[in-house]
């Protein structure tokens, strides 16, 4: 088995730890009640100094998940269970008052969003936006603050005169780089990146991704990088988590997930990535992602799964470690995956079984 062997699941160098997190949209319009189980029991961690990639298609719940971990939840979205704990907080983030959360935001926890235009105030110069976001966190007099920002920009190899520009005067790629600088200026421990390169052109995308990777390595912050594009994950994530219909179905070191995906959904996603130089026919997966207001019973992927068995229709597979650092929630992945068996199986034993 190739791939980096990472520390055990209970490492206390986890910056973010969620446990059984559940967030549902509970709506009632004119008498119609709907409960959309967008995030349905997710237990995972992001370790120190790593980029955790979260993959999944639209309406799989990944956007809801990051709203939940950032405590950016508003009704009708409600957190109905579970906990979200950060290493820099002594309590669950939901136990904080709104004022306490304001202190945390940006200084310890920041975001890089998809639409850079919606983060940068279009009627204010970039410098003012920096002041709006970061000034009160850095506790420096105005002059020293400006110097610190300029030093930060030069460290990220951005020209200092962008401070005087308005957002619309910068290109899309440049704006996104400004957003990255903005998100890292307070040296937060944790950064949430939500599809930061999706709206960018191919050439610019590569530059911005490189910048994100280098920035993360330079400052040692942890990052959760959300995108549906698996190729981006291959180039930026250390560990990769695949979400399907509100649940985490596979998680492991990136190279390993690409080389040896254990969940049929992941395998299909990886197989359907087109690559230059390959023109052989690729097969499509039938069906469509389920409606989260009325998901299938048991494993939510079973209607589309080529390996579906009887048990998949009845019971929910538990995320189980089948190889070092590599977890899967699938009954077909290994005959030993069954909810009645303790979740932590001897990894070596599981590997043995598969070789047969």
């Amino acid at each position: 088995m190739s791939g980096r062997v990472l520390a055990g699941a209970d490492a206390d160098d986890a910056v973010l730890r969620t446990k059984d997190l559940r967030a549902y949209y509970q709506m009632s319009y004119f008498g119609i009640e709907r409960e959309v189980r967008a995030v349905d029991s997710i237990t995972m961690q992001v370790r120190k100094n790593e980029i955790y990639g979260l993959a999944g298609e639209s309406s799989c719940g990944k956007t809801t998940f990051i709203k939940a971990i950032a405590a950016a939840i508003q009704p009708p979205l409600n957190v109905v269970g579970g906990s979200v704990r950060y290493s820099f907080l002594d309590r669950d983030i939901y136990a904080l008052t709104p004022d306490e959360r304001d202190v945390v935001r940006w200084r310890h926890l920041s975001y890089i969003m998809q639409g850079s235009m919606s983060v940068l105030n279009p009627v204010r110069r970039v410098q003012r936006t920096f002041e709006d976001f970061a000034f009160r966190h850095m506790n420096l007099p105005k002059g020293a603050f400006l110097e610190a920002v300029k030093a930060h920009l030069s460290r990220l190899r951005l020209p200092a005169d962008i401070l005087r520009a308005y957002p619309h005067e910068l290109s899309g790629g440049m704006r996104q780089r400004v957003c990255i600088a903005l998100a890292t200026v307070c040296r937060p421990e944790f950064i949430i990146a939500d599809e930061p390169t999706t709206a960018l052109d191919v050439v610019v995308q590569k530059d911005v991704l490189t910048m994100i990777r280098e920035t993360q390595r330079e400052f040692g912050s942890s990052m959760i990088f959300v995108t549906h594009d698996l190729t981006v994950h291959a180039n930026v994530a250390d560990r990769l988590g695949i979400m399907y219909a509100g649940r985490l179905v596979e998680e492991g070191p990136t190279a390993e997930v690409f080389a040896n995906p254990m969940h049929p959904y992941t395998a299909h996603l990886v197989a359907s990535l087109p690559r230059i130089g390959e023109a052989n026919t690729r097969h499509a997966l039938p069906g469509a992602p389920p409606n989260l207001a009325d998901p299938p019973a048991g494993c939510r992927f079973h209607p589309r799964c080529p390996l579906a068995m009887d048990i998949c229709r009845r019971e929910v597979p538990v995320l189980t470690t089948l190889a070092p650092g590599h977890r899967v929630a699938c009954f077909a992945a290994s005959p030993n995956v069954h909810p009645s068996i303790a979740p932590e199986i001897n990894a070596a034993e599981a590997v043995e079984e598969e070789r047969i």
């Binding site: 291959a234 990886v270 359907s272 087109p274 690559r275 023109a279 499509a284 080529p306 048990i311 005959p335």
Partner: protein, 300 residues
């Protein structure tokens, strides 16, 4: 018979004027683009470009939605500017149909999706009775792998992006066009549903003889299905030729830059899908069967 092309784009230019009364500047969205599509053989013709390259403007001119500033477009020998009467325009639209980028925007969210299919059947095929229209709609839907029964009376939000895009393609196919202009048709569709649509385009060319202008920024899918390709940058064509040849061996600097910027799914070179898990083997083509009673596995 030589020289008869399905579509002939000749030194096409589109300029826009910016600025006020003093200091008007013009900028060219599309500058001096020429290419042609043969009539004898249907092909998938890819136009690659990033945002601002003019590819969408070019598509709209081909669809006769915008008038060019200079140059001409001829479809089946007739110049597009000669289409004045409604009947002429209808005749053109019967032959040339668009597929838009965002399937959710291509349908009115307040109306049911089968409505557009039935209306197209009535307007382009002259189908008089409801039964005739439904039959035409069902035929078109079957070509894309759906059926009228599945989507009857559904609203756009009840379908997934992949399904909706296929309905949009079915709508375009109802009039039995000879040319489809697809502007980034899969960029807004989920990764797991994308391949089915791309494969569909292949089938449309091979089985139904429809030529497709496939506009995208994604080099990899262009490689997968196109026959010929042009690469556009800032309104101009920088490189053109047979798809595999151009993409395997780009000559122009910009083409090379595009190819280099492509992310590889295997940056560490460890080998994609080289493992031995059950799922990996299944997707690589080994049939794996499960006995649902016992928990063992049998490999055929």
């Amino acid at each position: 018979m030589t020289g008869a092309s399905l579509l002939e784009v000749d030194h096409l230019t589109k300029s826009y004027a910016r600025g006020g009364v003093f200091g008007r500047q013009s900028f060219d969205a599309v500058r001096d683009v020429s290419f042609s599509l043969p009539i004898e053989q249907p092909e998938v013709f890819a136009i690659i470009g990033e945002s601002g390259s003019g590819k969408t403007t070019l598509a709209r001119m081909i669809l006769n939605m915008i008038a060019p500033t200079a140059g001409s477009i001829r479809f089946s020998g007739g110049n597009l500017t000669a289409l004045r009467r409604r009947s002429d325009r209808l005749g053109f639209m019967k032959q040339v149909q668009p597929i838009f980028q965002n399937p959710f925007e291509a349908f009115n969210p307040l109306k049911r999706v089968d409505r557009y299919l039935l209306i197209s059947a009535k307007n382009f095929l002259g189908a008089r009775s409801q039964a005739e229209r439904e039959r035409a709609a069902d035929d078109a839907l079957n070509k894309v792998g759906l059926s009228l029964a599945e989507i009857r009376r559904r609203f756009p939000h009840e379908l997934s992006g992949g399904q909706l895009q296929r309905v949009a393609i079915a709508r375009a196919l109802i009039s039995e066009p000879s040319l489809l202009v697809a502007d980034e048709p899969v960029s807004m569709v989920d990764a797991s549903l994308r391949m089915s649509i791309v494969n569909l385009f292949r089938r449309l060319r091979d089985d139904l003889g429809v030529s497709i202008i496939y506009i995208t920024h994604d080099l990899a899918t262009a490689y997968y299905i196109s026959d010929r390709i042009i690469i556009m940058r800032k309104g101009e064509v920088v490189e053109s030729g047979p798809a595999r040849a151009v993409l395997d061996n780009p000559q122009h600097e910009y083409s090379k830059l595009l190819k280099e910027s492509l992310l590889s799914p295997d940056p560490s070179g460890e080998g994609v899908l080289s493992g031995s898990s059950v799922a990996t083997r299944q997707v690589r083509g080994n049939a794996v069967h499960f006995d649902s009673e016992a928990r063992g596995e049998r490999i055929e």
